[in-house]
């Protein structure tokens, strides 16, 4: 991992078009500003972990009453 020291107000450039700036530091919290092209997807790492976990809970459900599950899923078209 590349480790860099930055002060408040200083930035890091990633490629030509992404700029990450340290906005503020308060105790253990760092506020970070990210400037990137609109199509760049930026998310907190926890989001990834949550989605992984959710996929794992959804994977290969055990024995299901398919008719009952279908009926329930169908019952509710306009929540």
């Amino acid at each position: 991992m590349l480790v860099l020291t930055r002060r408040i107000g200083e930035s890091i450039k990633v490629n030509e078009d992404i700029k990450i700036t340290v906005i503020d530091i308060k105790g253990k919290n760092v506020r970070i500003g990210i400037e990137a092209p609109k199509e760049t997807k930026i998310y907190r790492e926890e989001v990834f972990l949550r989605i992984k976990k959710e996929n794992q809970s959804a994977a290969s459900p055990g024995e299901l009453d398919l008719e009952k599950v279908s009926q329930l899923a169908k019952n509710n078209p306009d929540k």
Partner: protein, 153 residues
């Protein structure tokens, strides 16, 4: 092409029904081939199966998100569009993965990370939406639609 599955036994799929997921799914990165199968052969269902063709046991339940959230909006990044080889006249299938717990009425759908399939190219990908703050555990069964005994407690 014939594939063995734990849930459905041997299944026979045409080439265009074999969906390539170059990145797999989150948490299942090495599973790169899936087929979409009817949920229940005996009745119509709003659900489908996403069956792994590389790991016979692995299957997910899919739902059409627009049935539950009519204004559901998917915005793909340029990179995602490139990987799915999306062109203007292509039809994209949008599905969400459903988690069904023991109490079926608590089933949820992951609206944040839908499955997008380019039907014209048989290419699929799970994407993370950032255009809106969608829930990973969206309740599919509303309180009103639940059976009374299930609501108590």
């Amino acid at each position: 092409m014939k594939y063995e599955t734990t849930r459905f036994g041997s299944i026979d799929l045409e080439d265009h029904q074999i969906i390539h997921f170059k990145n797999g799914l989150y948490g299942f990165e090495s599973q790169d081939l899936f087929g979409v199968l009817p949920f229940n052969a005996d009745m119509e269902s709003p659900l489908e199966w996403l069956q792994s063709l590389t790991f016979p046991e692995l299957a997910f339940i899919l739902a059409d998100p627009y049935v539950y959230v009519p204004d559901y909006t998917v915005v793909l990044s340029n990179e995602e569009e490139r990987q799915l080889e999306v062109e203007a006249d292509h039809s994209l299938l949008v599905r969400v993965i459903v988690t069904v717990p023991k109490n079926y009425e608590d089933m949820t759908a992951n609206l944040m990370a839908p499955i997008i399939i380019n039907m014209n190219r048989s290419l699929g990908r799970q994407v993370i939406l950032t255009n809106k703050d969608y829930d990973t555990r969206y309740q599919l069964i509303s309180q009103e639609a639940r059976q009374p005994e299930a609501v108590t407690e």
